[in-house]
Symmetry: C2
Subunit: 155 residues, 2 copies
């Protein structure tokens, strides 16, 4: 895909997250894109990201929802301000709270699809709801309360 992902717009000094930082060589480097009013992210777990054999461990599902959620929050904030993602100042969100409901075991040998929608923007806070699907079946649902990163976080 030649389209740039949400995470490709993170400033270099905020692009080292294990889940979503393009500069973290050991990390997942997830990529999120708009698909209409939904954001979408595809991810292929490795064989060792297992819970019980054949299924993805819950922490990875939480990680994917978290990072896809904060990415979606940033992208939604640009949209709310009618700004292109390449424009300054850059938005970067951290997670205030994360909730995940595990509905079904998530198969590991399948490309996972995350879809998310922005439910609410209130000041510096964005609430995002997400699903994780495998083979078209929703295996987990999550909610991320994301908050625009305080300037004091940035070294």
């Amino acid at each position: 895909m030649t389209q740039k992902a949400f995470q490709d717009f993170y400033p270099d000094n905020l692009a080292h997250c294990y889940g979503c930082g393009r500069l973290n060589e050991q990390g997942y480097q997830i990529k999120s894109y708009w698909d209409g009013d939904e954001s979408v992210c595809h991810f292929q777990p490795r064989e060792y990201h297992t819970a019980i054999p054949g299924y993805v461990y819950g922490g990875m599902i939480a990680s994917l929802i978290d990072c896809h959620g904060t990415g979606t929050a940033a992208a939604a904030m640009y949209r709310a301000e009618h700004r292109a993602m390449a424009t300054e100042p850059a938005f970067r969100f951290v997670t205030a709270s994360l909730h995940v409901d595990y509905l079904k075991p998530t198969p590991i040998n399948t490309l996972l699809e995350l879809r998310a929608t922005m439910k609410e923007i209130k000041g510096r806070k964005v609430i995002v709801e997400a699903t994780v699907s495998a083979n078209g079946i929703v295996c987990a649902r999550g909610q991320v309360v994301a908050v625009q990163m305080p300037e004091s976080f940035v070294k």
Copy 2:
């Protein structure tokens, strides 16, 4: 420590979780123990488990709470049945839901301490509440609703 951890009692075929399976060579292999009525787990993140430089990424905190939570659920169920952990049948829990509140950035160059308590046992369900601390400061709080693994999960 020569004491066996909760996870050391997981049956071999259920000991491959990336977060807590002793047989997952790539995984975190967390170890949880009783400390009175609380369970405790110490974990040292790697340098690349970063969110923004200097801090732990949220997905790892969620993973630790999740796996320490399911381990605590199993251990609590043995206690509720007045059984030693080495006795059969073995308890192994999966996560129905996970909630994490991120209170403060969690420093990465510090041994993290998780503490958890069992809040409720109801049939096959156990609710566990947990904290993640660094240098004595609580950085995150979580709740795990754990359910005894259905026999159909086990291959």
